[in-house]
Every structure is written in structure tokens, then in C-alpha cells.
């Protein structure tokens, strides 16, 4: 009797695990499907893409024409560099300013502390695109249209609220005793921030970095409006040149998109170890 009860428990545990994995595998398949679809078709000839879009590239259909078109154009390297500069500079700005603001909000008692926090929260709730016209006028007025600086400034502004919000919560978890020990040992407030607090919230920094990096890299809206010039195009915008009103060079579009994924994957791998720690440390305490 007891034995069968035990085996039922094991069975239900197995069933639960199976169900959990089924859900996760299902979701992974759904998420990966478009990526694989783009990758597979980017290696096929135009005829093969339309004849059998779901087929993998084979001896008859394999063709690198998309990649040669993209790379022959010559400006794709520039687009790539632009995307990288914009993404990394924005990321650096968001992390630097976000963590400083978060430390101040978590550590110091001052009159407008709560109000400042709420003000920043508004930035999470209101999409920055609502202010596009104002931003464009601002950029025209400051002669920043068609510069990478325009994009970087906008992305820093739009990324800061969520960064401050997440990092403040993590900064609050650092023990007061530790910061006070630093003060007694003669560390300045800057050193307590940079040398004591920042290393302790590194997992959270990685999390914020990944979550803000991907939308910046993928953004089409602001590059199109603020920096559509040839020398300031980003990868996502650059890929659009192959999509015409009447003719679309699908090989080139798919190849450009496939190439565009690479840097994001590289950065993700760089941050992923800390990312998972950052996400789970919020949940399990």
C-alpha cells in the first residue's frame, strides 16, 4: 500500500516535469522558428525560396547570392559599425547613469526622493515614441539630425527609467553595515558606489544590459526618423533598402537580417551567465 503511494508520488512528479518541459520546448520551438526560417532561406536561391519556403537549403537550392549582394554593396560594414556604436554607447550611458541614479535613490534620504522615483516610473509607462515629433524638432534645433549622437541620446533617455527601476531594487539589498564599514575605513561615497555597490549588483547590471540592448539594436523607428542618411544608417534600416515598393530582393533582406542577428547573440553570450543569476536572484531569496 505504502509502496504504491510512493510510486504514485514519483509518477506525478515525473508527469509534472514532463509537462513543464513540454511547455518550455514548445515555446522554444515557437521562438526559434522564425529565426531558423530566415537563416535557412538566406542560403537559398530566389527561385527556391518561393518554390519551397519551408525546405532546408540543399544541393539544388543552395545559393549565397543574398550574402554577396549585401556585402558587395560596400556600405553594410558602415551600417554594422553604426549599429554597434549606437548600441554600445547607449548601453554604457544607461548603465552608468542608471546605476548612479539607482544608488542615490536607494541610499540617500532627501526631500524629493520618492517623487524622483515616481517621475522616472512614468518613463516606463509612457512610450517614448509618443514624443517623436518633439524629439525630432529638438534634434533639428540642435543640428543633431543625421548623427549617431541623436540616436544615442534618445536611447539613453528611453532606457534609463527601467534601468533605474530595476537597479534601485537591487541597490536596496546591499547591507547598510557594509556601506558604513566602508565609510569608517575612509572610502568616499564615490568609492562606496563604484567599488563596493557596483560589483555586488553585477548580475542585475547584466540583466539590464541585455534587456535594453536588444530593442536598441532592433529599432527601426528612430534611425528612420533621426538618422536616415547613408553614413548613419543602422543595420535594421540598411536592410530595408532591399525592400522596394515594387521589387524586393528577398535574398539580400534575409542575408542582412541573418548577419544582423550575430552581434546580438555574441553580446548575449557575454552577459548570459550573469543574466540568469540576475533574473533568478530576484525570485529566489
Amino acid at each position: 500500500m505504502r509502496c504504491s503511494a510512493g510510486s504514485t508520488a514519483i509518477n506525478s512528479k515525473l508527469a509534472r516535469r514532463f509537462a513543464a518541459h513540454a511547455v518550455l520546448i514548445g515555446y522554444t520551438a515557437v521562438a526559434l522558428w522564425p529565426v531558423l526560417f530566415i537563416l535557412a532561406n538566406s542560403f537559398k536561391s530566389r527561385r527556391a525560396i518561393f518554390a519551397a519556403p519551408l525546405a532546408l537549403p540543399g544541393p539544388g537550392s543552395f545559393d549565397l547570392v543574398g550574402y554577396t549582394t549585401v556585402l558587395r554593396g560596400g556600405s553594410f560594414g558602415t551600417y554594422f559599425a553604426n549599429s554597434l556604436i549606437v548600441t554600445l554607447a547607449s548601453l554604457a550611458g544607461i548603465i552608468a547613469f542608471g546605476s548612479m541614479a539607482a544608488f542615490a535613490l536607494a541610499e540617500y534620504r532627501f526631500r524629493l526622493n520618492t517623487l524622483t522615483g515616481l517621475y522616472l516610473m512614468l518613463g516606463i509607462m509612457i512610450p517614448i515614441r509618443l514624443g517623436t515629433i518633439g524629439i525630432l524638432e529638438l534634434m533639428v534645433g540642435t543640428h543633431l539630425v543625421n548623427t549617431l549622437a541623436a540616436l544615442i541620446l534618445v536611447y539613453i533617455a528611453s532606457g534609463l527609467p527601467i534601468a533605474v527601476f530595476v537597479l534601485t531594487e537591487f541597490m536596496r539589498t546591499i547591507s547598510d553595515d557594509l556601506k558604513n564599514a566602508g565609510r569608517i575605513d575612509g572610502l568616499s561615497e564615490y568609492e562606496i558606489f563604484g567599488w563596493l555597490a557596483l560589483p555586488l549588483v553585477r548580475p542585475a547590471l547584466s540583466t539590464v544590459a541585455v534587456f535594453t540592448m536588444i530593442p536598441i539594436w532592433n529599432d527601426l523607428w528612430f534611425p528612420l526618423i533621426l538618422a536616415p542618411g547613408e553614413s548613419t544608417k543602422t543595420v535594421t534600416l540598411g536592410a530595408q533598402q532591399f525592400i522596394g515598393q515594387y521589387v524586393t530582393d528577398w535574398n539580400a533582406v534575409l542575408a542582412a537580417l541573418s548577419l544582423g542577428i550575430l552581434p546580438v547573440i555574441m553580446l548575449y553570450v557575454l552577459f548570459s551567465k550573469n543574466l540568469i543569476r540576475g533574473i533568478s536572484s530576484g525570485a529566489i531569496k
Binding site: S175, D177, L178, N180, A181, G182, R183, I184, D185, G186, L187, L196, P199, L200
Partner: protein, 335 residues
């Protein structure tokens, strides 16, 4: 010479006053313990002495010099925290020497002080380890070592034993007492545990709701508590309080008697009552007696007492052990 002098210290957070008019002098080499229930302001007072928090008014003088406005690092203090607060990314030696490097001491001098402190605290084999790999007791010793190497004028301890288990707490308590004998430095120690206060202190400062209730040697606080609060706070089990007709007859609002000052009396007992509960500790027996006229009294009998729950017994106070308190809860002269 006074190592620490507090003059009229008050502290307000918005409208709430957490410390009001604290005046205190601690002599050089003295071991002073701030004790009180949580929320009485003792930790805030320590933070003000350390310079980690500013007072609303009043003055802090350390070794005769005004310390107001001085940064914590410049006050000549060493502080040991409840949570140890070791830098997780530095090893033991680096943790202990950081402040000295900051102060710009010569390398040889840092090395010498580090060696001496590590020897004293038996930390020498651990010097290259990271705090994460140490046990609670070892971390506490490193935290103490970090304070020692600075050769402070004033040692501040903020509930240093609270995170240790019971056995280790007793050992560390003895180590801290030894350390005080060895170094002879003035120590300010904050705790909510009256046993720690009684065993360690030269001078106990009892705090409650932001004011000093009494300052004195441990035994003074035990034998002559200034008021009802101190009487109830110092001593374990707690002093019994008797109000009502019984107290009025003695010319007081409240009578106090310590459990260890009540005897079981078979002839002419002052109080009769029923044993409601008994705790047998071996060395002592605690009897909780519901008396007919004086309410519930705790009786501490040395050794093993054969009193069963439900049994009716007579009890009497030992001569000259009753404390009397007036309407303002202040202690009256003994009868």
C-alpha cells in the same frame, strides 16, 4: 580623562524624536554598554558617535575634542557590525588593512599591525581566504581584527553577537572581555541582551524610548534600579511587580521583588498561592505561583524544588529585598 562625552544629543526623524537630551561621559579604558529594547535609540546613538548619522542638536566629543562634522574615518574609531560587513571581494588580510592603506600608513607598519592582530585573534592561517569561505565566528573575528589594526581611541560594537549561535556567543563574549583587558581601549557596546550587558560592562547605560533611564555599574542596576523600567529590564527571570492594596500598605504604587529573593515558607508565609507551572533547569527551579493577594509571582529556587503543578504553597520575600516605586515609577528609599 573622558574618552567620550555626549552633551545634550537629540535626534529627530521628521516629527518623531528618537533621542532626547542624551548626556553621558565615558572614562578612558571603560567598557560601556548601551542596552535597551529594540527601538529605544541605542543603535542611532552609536551611529551618531561614529559619525554615520548626524545629531539634530548636541555635541559629540571624542578624547576631549569636538567630533562634530568630522568624517567617520577621521574620528579615531573602530567599529564592529552585527552582520560583520566584510568586503566580499577582498581576502582577510586585505579586509583588515584597507583602512590603514587609506590612511596612508607605511607598508611595513601595516604588515606589523596586521601580524599582531592576526596572532591575537588566531587569524594567521586564514589571511589569504575570502570572507565567503569563513564560518560566522571566524568572520566576526576578522571584523574585530579590522577594528583592532586601526588602534582606535574608541571601539564601537553594534550587537556583534546577535548573529552567532548560543554556544559561540558565550565564547565570543569571553573573548571580547579578554580583548578589553588586553588592549585597555575604551569600548562602546550596543546590545538588547541584558545578560551581555551585565557580564561585559564596567558601566551600563539603560535606554528606553530615546532617553537614558539609568547609568551605573551592573550590580548597582541590579540592587538599586532607578525606576520601574530598569527594574524590569535588568535581571532574568524578570522582577515581579505587585500593585494594588498590597503595595499601598507599603506606601508605594508598585512593589518589586526579584524571583531569586522569594523563599518557599511553610510557616507564616506572606503570600499563599497555587503553583501554575514549574520549570526545572537543574541548577534552579522556576515556579510560577498564582497568589491569592499579590497576583502571579515568579519564584526562583536554587537547585531542585519538589513542587508539583496545582500544589498550594506559601512564599515569603527574603528580608530587605522589596523594592518600592512611587506614582512616577521612580524608586523609593528602602524601608
Amino acid at each position: 580623562m573622558t574618552a567620550l562625552e555626549l552633551v545634550g544629543i537629540t535626534k529627530r526623524f521628521g516629527q518623531t524624536e528618537v533621542l532626547s537630551g542624551i548626556d553621558l561621559a565615558v572614562a578612558e579604558g571603560e567598557f560601556a554598554v548601551f542596552v535597551g529594547p529594540s527601538g529605544c535609540g541605542k543603535s542611532t546613538l552609536l551611529r551618531i558617535i561614529a559619525g554615520l548619522d548626524g545629531q539634530t542638536s548636541g555635541q559629540v566629543r571624542i578624547a576631549g575634542a569636538n567630533a562634530d562634522g568630522l568624517a567617520p574615518a577621521k574620528r579615531g574609531i573602530g567599529m564592529v557590525f552585527q552582520s560583520y560587513a566584510l568586503y566580499p571581494h577582498l581576502n582577510v588580510a586585505q579586509n583588515m588593512s584597507l583602512a590603514l592603506k587609506r590612511a596612508g600608513l607605511a607598508r611595513a607598519e601595516i604588515e606589523r599591525r596586521l601580524t599582531v592582530a592576526a596572532e591575537m585573534l588566531e587569524l594567521t592561517p586564514l589571511l589569504k581566504r575570502k570572507p565567503g569561505t569563513l564560518s560566522g565566528g571566524q568572520r566576526q573575528r576578522v571584523a574585530i581584527g579590522r577594528a583592532i589594526v586601526r588602534q582606535p581611541k574608541l571601539f564601537l560594537f553594534d550587537e556583534p553577537l546577535s548573529n552567532l549561535d548560543a554556544a559561540l556567543r558565550v565564547n565570543t563574549r569571553i573573548e571580547i572581555a579578554n580583548l578589553h583587558r588586553l588592549l585597555g581601549t575604551t569600548m562602546i557596546y550596543v546590545t538588547h541582551d541584558q545578560v551581555e550587558a551585565m557580564t561585559l560592562a564596567d558601566k551600563i547605560v539603560v535606554l528606553s524610548s530615546g532617553t537614558i533611564q539609568q547609568v551605573g555599574r551592573p550590580i548597582e542596576l541590579y540592587t538599586a534600579p532607578a525606576n520601574l523600567f530598569v527594574a524590569g529590564f535588568i535581571g532574568s527571570p524578570k522582577m515581579n511587580f505587585i500593585a494594588g492594596a498590597e503595595a499601598r500598605r507599603a506606601g508605594a504604587k508598585t512593589l518589586g521583588i526579584r524571583p531569586e529573593h522569594i523563599r518557599i515558607a511553610n510557616e507564616n508565609p506572606r503570600w499563599d498561592g497555587v503553583v501554575r507551572h514549574a520549570e526545572h533547569l537543574g541548577s534552579d527551579t522556576y515556579l510560577y505561583v498564582r497568589t491569592d493577594t499579590a497576583g502571579e509571582l515568579t519564584v526562583r529556587v536554587a537547585g531542585e524544588a519538589q513542587a508539583a503543578v496545582g500544589e498550594r504553597i506559601g512564599i515569603s520575600p527574603a528580608p530587605a529585598t522589596l523594592h518600592r516605586f512611587d506614582d512616577a515609577d521612580l524608586r523609593l528609599a528602602p524601608l
